[in-house]
């Protein structure tokens, strides 16, 4: 028998009717976007610097004012009233319209930048021309579609970051974390690379917090050459790029879990946590989604590892007297490194794998080793079975553009705000692998206090069924957890706490929960 879900009745009034001020704020924000839209239809604004400032300011202050109206007059606390009644946050018409527009924007951005006014030679037109003054101010060069995108991205993180801080102003973890992503986006992703370009024109564009494999193109030939050509500073940056994945990342992930990156530093995470916050409840929590997630995201890791290996291999030489790192030395090195990691994990952490994860790990390892071996014995020519260029191009198209941009961000209002981070990001998968097996981070479940209400699972942007662990009295140690802290914030009974503690006792599970007869608990739990 099914009873109609009356809570979705048309008579149910969404609690948050827009106030007059909020309506004005919406108009203000949209007028800023409208200026950009006019510019992209080649309305030639005079005084571009002024119009761009007006536009960006209007967008920023529209969001700012809207948020102030929404939250500042209310007492501090959880602000999820009406989330599932509003069209935009409950996959209604507005959500679809927003999703389609964003997706359209990404398609134009990635594949048809000329529609935005990008000129191959000569001066820019359209919306890109509108951004020329700002770009010249920072780097001295005219704007590109990426500069336009970067500017809007930064404005979005800053404006919606302020909104997020207002919304969670009772929660210092959320406030500090959000200030962190706002800082890293503005300084590291936006301003520093532009200024570096001004100081040293030879340096490749380098967002220092963007680490391989997220930054899958970092070790391509043109970038390596550019790094080396720029002297000491370039070399330092190249070394930093290698050190950040092999040294810095493992240390920080051990100490704090992958959240140090995914929800404190990363730009993709930054946008998801700020502009994407209204959509976090849309992630799919079903067991089947988890199964898909594990196969897809780990396949991307395998893909990016093969691709990068192939790309580096393709430009290395054969003669070890000229340079120590030859094609063969490199390939053997990669094989040794992967074998070492695989052996260590199998030796010490095998027990922590579930059966299918174990098969997956073995499967992937065998595939990579076979390919390396196959290549090694089959002589020169293509890398593995493919051309490195083909691999690179397909990765860039499928993962770099379609997955991270078009689906990952364009579909925020439909699939939730962390689709890319959950299903596609190889960086998140690698950090997650370590987080699961070798990190001090966990979400502690507070004894027997869980009432299975489901707020934690509903608001988990990564689609983790947090409640499934909490109601068993089990700590949450999941590779996908980005440590955003919202499960802990929305829990009405104080059950969840993100913390870094000793590895001993990190997981733990109880059949009988704390609160019941002590004898029964020990008896049953030891069994």
């Amino acid at each position: 028998m099914s009873t109609p879900d009356k809570s979705m009745a048309l008579t149910g009034q969404p609690p948050a009717d827009l106030s007059t001020f909020q309506k004005i704020a919406v108009i203000l924000g949209l007028s800023g976007l409208f200026i950009l839209l006019l510019a992209s239809f080649n309305i030639d604004f005079p005084n571009k610097g002024t119009w761009l400032s007006i536009s960006l300011m209007a967008i920023f202050s529209g969001v700012f004012w809207f948020a102030k109206e929404a939250y500042s007059k209310k007492l501090k606390g959880i602000k999820n009233d009406g989330v599932w009644f509003k069209s935009i946050s409950a996959k209604g018409l507005w959500a679809w319209l927003t999703g389609i527009s964003l997706t359209g924007f990404y398609i134009v951005l990635y594949f048809y930048p000329e529609f935005l006014g990008l000129a191959k030679d000569g001066s820019n037109t359209g919306v890109i021309a509108l951004f020329d003054p700002l770009s010249r101010l920072l780097s001295g060069n005219p704007a590109s579609q990426w500069f336009v995108y970067g500017s809007l991205y930064t404005v979005a993180i800053l404006a919606f970051g302020i909104k997020f801080i207002w919304k969670y102003r009772h929660n210092r973890y959320e406030i500090i974390r959000t200030i962190s992503v706002m800082f890293f986006q503005t300084a590291f992703a936006f301003i520093i690379p532009e200024i570096m370009a001004r100081l040293n024109g030879k340096l490749p564009y380098y967002d220092l917090k963007n680490i391989w494999p997220l930054n899958y193109y970092n070790f391509e030939k043109y970038r390596i050459n550019a790094f080396i050509d720029s002297g000491d500073i370039g070399l330092t940056m190249l070394i930093f790029g290698i050190v950040s994945i092999f040294v810095i990342t493992p240390i920080l992930t051990y100490k704090y879990g992958k959240r140090w990156y995914c929800s404190w530093v990363c730009g993709c995470g930054g946008l998801a946590e700020t502009a994407g916050d209204p959509f976090r409840q849309l992630s799919d929590k079903s067991l089947s989604a988890w199964k898909v997630e594990r196969w897809v995201v780990h396949s991307v890791v395998v893909f990016v590892t093969l691709m990068t290996t192939a790309v580096i291999y393709s430009y290395l030489g054969n003669d070890s007297s000229k340079y120590w790192l030859t094609k063969d030395a490199f390939l053997i090195g990669v094989a040794l490194l992967l074998s070492l990691i695989f052996a260590l994990v199998m030796l010490f952490k095998r027990a922590q794998f579930q059966k299918d994860a174990l098969y997956g790990a073995i499967g992937y390892f065998v595939i990579i080793m076979t390919l390396i071996g196959f290549h090694y014995y089959s002589g020169d020519g293509n890398v593995f079975l493919f051309k490195s260029e083909t691999l690179r191009k397909s990765y860039g198209f499928l993962i770099g553009s379609i997955f991270s941009g078009v689906i990952g961000t364009g579909f925020y209002p439909i699939f939730g705000n962390r689709v890319w981070c959950r299903f596609g990001c190889p960086m998140a998968a690698i950090l997650g692998f370590q987080q699961r097996l070798f990190s001090r981070f966990r979400i502690t479940t507070n004894g027997g206090q869980c009432i299975s209400c489901g707020n934690c699972s509903t608001y988990c942007e990564m689609g983790i069924d947090v409640r499934a662990y909490a109601q068993k009295g089990q700590n949450i140690v999941r590779s996908s957890c980005v440590g955003c802290g919202i499960c802990s914030a929305v829990c009405p009974r104080g059950v969840l706490k993100l913390e870094n503690g000793p590895l001993k006792g990190r997981i733990g599970s109880n059949e009988v929960l704390l609160g019941n007869d002590v004898d029964l608990m020990t008896l049953v739990n030891q069994k």
Binding site: R172, G454, L513, G515
Partner: protein
């Protein structure tokens, strides 16, 4: 194969079913008149508030039941025939059982007020009540004012729900302060202030006299014992709950307020057990009441009865009392026993600390002479269950609790900590000289 039938798919019944399945191959059937699948009753409020959809309240996906071979029957049992071990449904279906677990929960109290059965008058307990609320108070145009009668946990939840849709709420509380049948005055007083902050019209020491009807038999106003008539379109009756057992009247099962059970959760009839809200202990356990309508106790009884059914006859022995709730924006947790000002034991001393500006406070109860720690209420500070359980097990003194309170703090990272302030107040109140110790993972993990 032995057939276990459970009436009621709430947390007690479902916990019993899960544990029976874990430890045996018995046939398990769960009967519910309320819903197809188990959901978290305590979370119903969030559906009305738009935080979640009903489907989010289900702790297990719908395939879970089939996979674990737990049969689900939607229907209302009107009669238990314990001689033939048969259950009769309202629609005349009959099923047999070998062992029967009654986990039928509660129903809202009604105290015979004139007009209590009018349209627009309701309690808040079941999924059907939630649907009814959606009809009675969909928005502030249909429901221009709501009156809530009964100042307990459900009352304040209902007030929060209605306020989330901007509906004006008058809240009648019989006591001189909100929930002061349980909370000490300091704690209760802070909640009063918070209720007012949320623009809820709180009327303390005010009782309902009658509910007035309009020409269509709908509630149009209420009259209080202060002689005031308050116009309203919806009346929420939330003066507690009592066991939902009327269908057992003609069975041979011994009933009091609830279904009488011994410490093994057995009724007077062999092979029939009762757990959760509907069970009434023949002898109260420690300071506990004979009927405990609490999520956690329902779950614990489920764990225990499953063990009795699958392996060894096991006594229900709940550990140290704990509970939690949320009053609007203020989270509440309690461990051990802290009694209100009237119910305070003669040996019970209280220490109360409250933040100067924030709505944060705690009350610690301890033994006057032995200074043994008895219990804690905390508001706006989360505490570690394991640590307090351990301190209660070991019979720690109150000085120990104040000294190591940082170990027990469970607030999110970077939150302002108040343990030093709390210790200073304690030192001043009780002329002690306690230096709080730093949080230690070693001590925290030494437990268990």
């Amino acid at each position: 194969m032995e057939s276990i039938v459970i009436i009621g798919n709430g947390v007690a019944g479902v916990t019993a079913a899960r544990h029976i399945r874990k430890n045996s191959n018995k046939r398990i059937t769960i009967i519910s008149a309320e819903s197809d699948h188990f959901f978290s009753r305590t979370a119903l409020m969030y559906v009305y508030m738009g935080h979640m959809k009903f489907e989010h309240l289900k702790p297990y996906e719908d395939w879970f039941w089939k996979k674990n071979r737990i049969e689900l029957i939607r229907g209302f049992v009107r009669k238990v025939d314990d001689n033939n071990k048969e259950l009769f449904f309202e629609d005349d279906r009959v099923i047999k059982y070998d062992k029967l677990i009654l986990a039928t929960g509660s129903k809202p109290n009604k105290f015979g007020w004139p007009g209590q059965d009018l349209k627009g008058v309701q309690g808040l307990y079941s999924k059907q009540d939630l649907d009814l609320l959606e009809m009675n108070a969909p928005n502030k145009k249909v429901c221009r004012r709501a009156v809530i009668v009964g100042g307990g946990l459900i009352g304040i939840e209902l007030a929060e729900m209605l306020r989330s849709r901007d509906i004006p709420v008058t809240f009648l509380v019989r006591e001189k302060s909100f929930w002061d049948v349980v909370l000490p005055d300091g704690d209760s007083g802070m909640i009063n202030e918070h209720i007012l902050e949320h623009h809820i019209d709180l009327r303390l020491e005010t009782n309902l006299v009658e509910i007035l009807a309009d020409d269509y038999g709908r509630a149009k106003a209420i009259v209080t014992d202060k002689g005031e008539t308050i116009e309203c379109q919806m009346v929420g009756l939330t003066p507690g709950v009592s066991p939902n057992i009327s269908f057992l009247k003609d069975s041979g099962i011994e009933l009091g307020k609830g279904i009488k059970v011994n410490r093994f959760l057995e009724t007077n009839i062999k092979d029939i057990y009762a757990i959760g809200d509907c069970a009434e202990q023949l002898e109260p356990i420690g300071n506990r009441r004979p009927i405990e309508a609490v999520w956690y106790t329902g779950r614990m009884m489920g764990e225990t009865v499953a063990r009795t059914i699958c392996e060894t006859r096991t006594e229900y022995k709940p550990g140290h009392w704990f509970n939690s709730a949320k009053f609007l924006d203020i989270e509440y947790q309690t461990y051990g026993w802290v009694f209100n000002n009237n119910g305070k034991k003669d040996y019970e001393e209280h220490f109360h600390w409250r933040h100067a500006s924030e709505k944060i406070c705690l009350t610690i109860a301890f033994h006057k002479e032995t200074r043994k720690f008895l219990g804690i209420n905390t508001f706006g500070i989360r505490m570690r269950h394991e640590i307090f359980d351990e301190w209660l097990n070991k019979g720690r003194g109150v000085n120990h609790v104040i000294k190591y309170l940082k170990d027990a703090n469970f607030d999110p990272e970077f939150y302002t900590k108040y343990e030093n302030e709390i210790a200073a107040k304690f030192n001043a109140d009780f002329d002690t000289d306690i230096e709080p110790e730093k949080k230690s993972w070693k001590r925290i993990f030494a437990i268990g």
